[in-house]
Amino acid sequence: MALDKNQIAQRIAQELEHNTYVNLGIGIPTLVANYIPKGIDIEFQSENGVLGMGPFPFEGDEDPDLINAGKQTITTLDGAALFDSATSFAMIRGQHVQLTVLGAMEVSENGDIANWKIPGKMVKGMGGAMDLVASADNIIVAMMHTNRSGESKILKQCTLPITGINCVKKVVTNLAVLEVTEKGFKLLERAPGVSVDKIKNATEAKLIIEGEVPEMNI
């Protein structure tokens, strides 16, 4: 069974390391916050200027002066700090944020990512994505393995305008966990009940497969 969005988030949450700062992008990445493993202390950074982001507010407690990068109303936790956009991107560019999780339209086998622009369509802009992918030591992409037409988003080379080069370290999709290695995508895990062949068929890029590929633990 392919994973749903919540399960992708759940699998990514297993990558979280104790005592680290994490920036979650819009969409599936946001859901990762719901699955932090026990004993793992994490602080979430949002690039519009908050560290120590908490859950959504209770109804009636929404504050227009307290939002995340997706413009959603949020809360802060004990130990939170607020700051301006230059300081926020100083944290990101200066590699103080250890992990960035974000969505993508395409990822290529050398770790390029395309997630901001489709030529001919309305372009909304890159927001903070270009700063994030150019900076973080560890970048995990959360996305569906194929697009709505069934075409692979895991490619030899990106076809869309790219957001950053050589930056993605891991990709977690509804079908598989892939690591970006010097030789290309290595298939680390498959979704429960999804065969290696099914993943191969859904992948344009070459997959490196070593021995038995275990199922994800979801």
């Binding site: 908050v50 227009p64 002066d65 959603q72 301006d84 956009s85 150019a134 900076s135 305008p161 790219i162």
Partner: protein
């Protein structure tokens, strides 16, 4: 003490003209200079270049200037939620320069800090880097970005004093302190204006030296774009 207080938004906008470059603080609709924007949208000034992280929505924020076609060019990082913006952009009426959010923030700060240019890794290898100098530091390629200035910067704070000192609230701080630094004339509007001496000098976010004019806004709508809540257990 250098006094910055002006009577109202009209006095604060003295000198704005067509074809000028304006900066607007705010992220989405949070922390935008609502009163300045509404007043600007009623003036006969056109051909504006607007530097702002976002472009408002159709009937609020910078959407008001876009609707009256006062804007010639937008310099932003994310211009999502605005149908009229989309129409003008796709029809070619509106020039749009999209730049990474962190570079936008740093380029404003740089202008205010007398740093004409700096290297950043953001955008290397992408179309953002076109025509820009590339240099490797610590084995990693960086591109050279230049400072962004403006004839006027419009910012919004929570509290301010008559010396122009500003305190922001929550994430409504965002680009406001950086654009305050960058504006040749910086106009600050605040929810609450107090006499100098009432704010703790240790808690000022933007020192008054970066602000040329300050006034208390008439009212603040403070719209929420994505109201998200959880239910009480």
């Amino acid at each position: 003490m250098v006094k910055k207080i002006v009577e109202n938004v009209e006095h604060a906008l003295k000198g704005v003209e067509s074809n000028m470059t304006f900066m607007f603080g705010g992220f989405g609709l949070s922390g935008i200079p609502e009163n300045a924007i509404v007043s600007l949208s009623k003036k006969e000034i056109f051909g504006l270049t607007c530097i702002s992280n976002n472009a408002g929505v159709d009937d609020f924020g910078l959407g008001l200037l876009l609707k009256r076609k006062q804007v010639k060019k937008m310099i932003s990082s994310y211009v999502g939620e605005n149908a009229e913006f989309e129409r003008q952009m796709l029809s070619g009426e509106l020039e749009v320069d999209l730049i990474p959010q962190g570079s936008l923030a740093e380029r404003c700060r740089a202008a205010g800090a007398g740093i004409p240019a700096f290297f950043t890794p953001a955008g290397y290898g992408t179309e953002v880097a076109k025509g820009k100098e590339v240099r490797k530091y610590n084995g990693k390629p960086h591109i050279l970005e230049t400072a962004l200035t403006a004839d006027f910067a419009f910012v919004k704070a929570w509290k301010g004093d008559t010396a122009g000192n500003l305190i922001f609230k929550g994430t409504a701080r965002n680009f406001n302190p950086l654009m305050a630094m960058a504006g040749r004339i910086t106009v600050a509007e605040v929810e609450e204006l107090v006499p100098a001496g009432e704010l703790d000098p240790n808690q000022i976010h933007t020192p008054g030296i970066f602000v040329q004019r300050i006034f208390q806004g008439n009212k603040y709508e403070k719209r929420i774009e994505q109201r998200t809540v959880r239910t009480k257990k």
